[in-house]
């Protein structure tokens, strides 16, 4: 009985998307036709079919896979390295006003700094190598995670804490049964921001100082003027970003079933 009511809305959104598909297909077709007719410069706008075949070739010969792997091996450790301390300090600063007041000026001072500007400093401290790349990603990730977690804890309604206390919940129980679940939506929003910042910084660092990774490949493609490889790499980065966001949406939906709209945002 629930099946029809479940399929109807998704079918409706599916139908609602067809103008976007048509527009995209039309654009690609025009681009392809323009390229083949010699109206578009192959240097700026290589034909989509060429980009596609370059993409497939680059995966077949293992080049793209190796760069993708290198990027993921910086993205994931960097995310973990920044998000875990950000989460823990965010929980602490959200719960303890004194700690918040003490640490807030420092956080506010460093947060607006574009983190890539810290790269030379990090390289001086940790050398020109993998550690520095991961550390700079971690630093960038730390702040959105910290600030979102802190805000999440601070916006927990005191009413819920009062209810829990009234029913006899001790401090630790109030934390695990009220503060954590109540701030989880904001924490997951922070994690999504952090994951995207991590990708941004990984690619940036690879452009600046790396021989491997999708960012390095972007730069390499430019240096040898292989525009079709540049486009192919951008496609991979874009799909990677979509996959990361899709995965985090799924995670959000399963962890926060009581806020169904959160995952759609």
């Amino acid at each position: 009985m629930t099946a029809p009511s479940r399929t109807t809305p998704s079918a409706r959104t599916g139908n609602g998307r067809w103008p976007a598909w048509v527009a995209t297909a039309a654009l690609l077709a025009a681009w392809e036709a323009g390229s083949r007719a010699g109206l578009l410069s192959q240097l700026f706008l290589p034909a989509p079919s060429l980009v596609l075949s370059t993409l497939m070739d680059s995966f077949r010969d293992g080049e793209m896979g190796a760069h993708l792997g290198a990027t993921l091996l910086r993205w994931a450790p960097g995310l973990a390295f920044g998000a875990v301390p950000g989460l823990l300090l965010g929980l602490a600063m959200g719960s303890l006003p004194r700690l918040r007041r003490a640490a807030d000026p420092l956080v506010s001072a460093v947060h607006p700094l574009p983190k890539i500007a810290l790269l030379p400093l990090v390289m001086i401290m940790f050398g020109i190598g993998e550690a520095s790349r991961i550390i700079i990603v971690g630093i960038a990730v730390f702040f959105p995670m910290l600030l979102n977690t802190m805000a999440g804890v601070m916006q927990v309604s005191p009413l819920y804490l009062e209810v829990a206390e009234n029913y006899g919940a001790r401090l630790l129980t109030r934390f695990t049964r009220v503060v954590l679940p109540a701030s989880l939506p904001m924490i997951l929003t922070g994690l999504r921001l952090a994951a995207n910042v991590a990708l941004l910084l990984t690619i940036t660092v690879e452009i600046v100082m790396a021989e491997t990774g999708l960012g390095a490949l972007v730069w390499l493609s430019w240096e040898v003027l292989r525009t079709e490889l540049l486009y192919a790499t951008l496609v991979v980065i874009s799909v990677l970003g979509l996959a990361i966001n899709g995965g985090l949406k799924l995670l959000t939906r399963s962890l926060v079933p009581w806020q169904p709209h959160l995952a759609e945002a």
Partner: protein, 262 residues
């Protein structure tokens, strides 16, 4: 399960909040007694400290003057009690079943036992088919049923209700008032029920405490002699007289309060 009957006696209770903007006297010289299993309603102008009074009795705040004594139960300590707020007090991240079982969980009741007792009560308030749902999937009235079920299931001798029906529409409110009275008849405990709604106070309470404006104290205590179970039609005319009388006591302060705060 039989709950130990507990009464409460407030003697010259006062409470002063130490805020950043200076001290604020919320209550001053509140004295009243409530018998075990009695239904006492508290009305008063906005900001008269009604909610503060409930939090003091709940043990969430300490009085800065006077004393609160409990008869029966464990002497000295605040006996177990349950606060019921507007429906916002229901945890959005827990299912209906887990919400209702929360009080028992905090008391250390085993999982099977508490889920069984919660389930039985959920059936009593007509929410059996919604047991696995989250509060956002329920109407406001249903959510408040969850809050009331959670408080009754916790099986405490004192129920402290802070404008529980304040955000309900008039019809839902009538239905929930009936339900609350029915459950209370079957499961008697001392209820202190704070409300803005004078008619509601007259309809539910054995007695109505009328409070003064801030700092709040007890202005008058009215006995509401209608037989139980209450009957809305039968009591209609007499209720009106009580409602009028309470309004006469409050009107001046409510009007002044509007001028000051509004």
């Amino acid at each position: 399960m039989i709950t130990e009957a507990v009464g409460v006696a407030c003697e010259e209770v006062g409470h002063v909040y130490d805020g950043t903007g200076g001290a604020l006297a919320a209550l001053d010289g509140v004295t009243f007694r409530a018998r075990p299993a009695e239904f006492v309603c508290i009305v008063g102008p906005s900001g008269c400290g009604k909610s503060t009074l409930l939090r003091l009795i709940a043990g969430l705040l300490r009085p800065t003057a006077g004393s609160i004594l409990f008869q029966g139960g464990t002497s000295g300590a605040t006996p177990r009690n349950a606060l019921v707020f507007q429906e916002h007090g229901v945890f959005p991240w827990m299912t209906v079943l887990d919400n209702v079982a929360f009080g028992l969980e905090m008391q250390g009741v085993s999982r099977t036992d508490r889920l069984e007792r919660a389930h039985a009560f959920i059936e009593r308030v007509g929410l059996a088919t919604f047991e696995g749902r989250y509060p956002h999937e329920l109407s406001v009235g249903m959510r408040q049923r969850v809050g009331i079920a959670r408080a009754f299931v916790a099986d405490v001798p004192i129920l402290l209700m802070d404008e529980p029906f304040g955000s309900l529409d008039a019809q839902t409110k009538w239905v929930l008032q009936e339900e609350l009275l029915r459950i209370w008849r079957e499961d008697r405990k001392l209820v202190l029920f704070v409300t803005h709604d004078i008619e509601e106070a007259v309809r539910l309470g054995d007695r109505v405490l009328v409070m003064t404006g801030r700092p709040g104290s007890i202005r008058e205590v009215l006995d509401i002699p209608f037989a139980r179970p209450r009957d809305r039609d039968r009591d209609a005319d007499a209720s009106l007289a009580y409602t009028k009388r309470i309004w006469d006591l409050l009107e001046d302060e409510v009007r002044t309060g509007l001028l000051v705060t509004g």
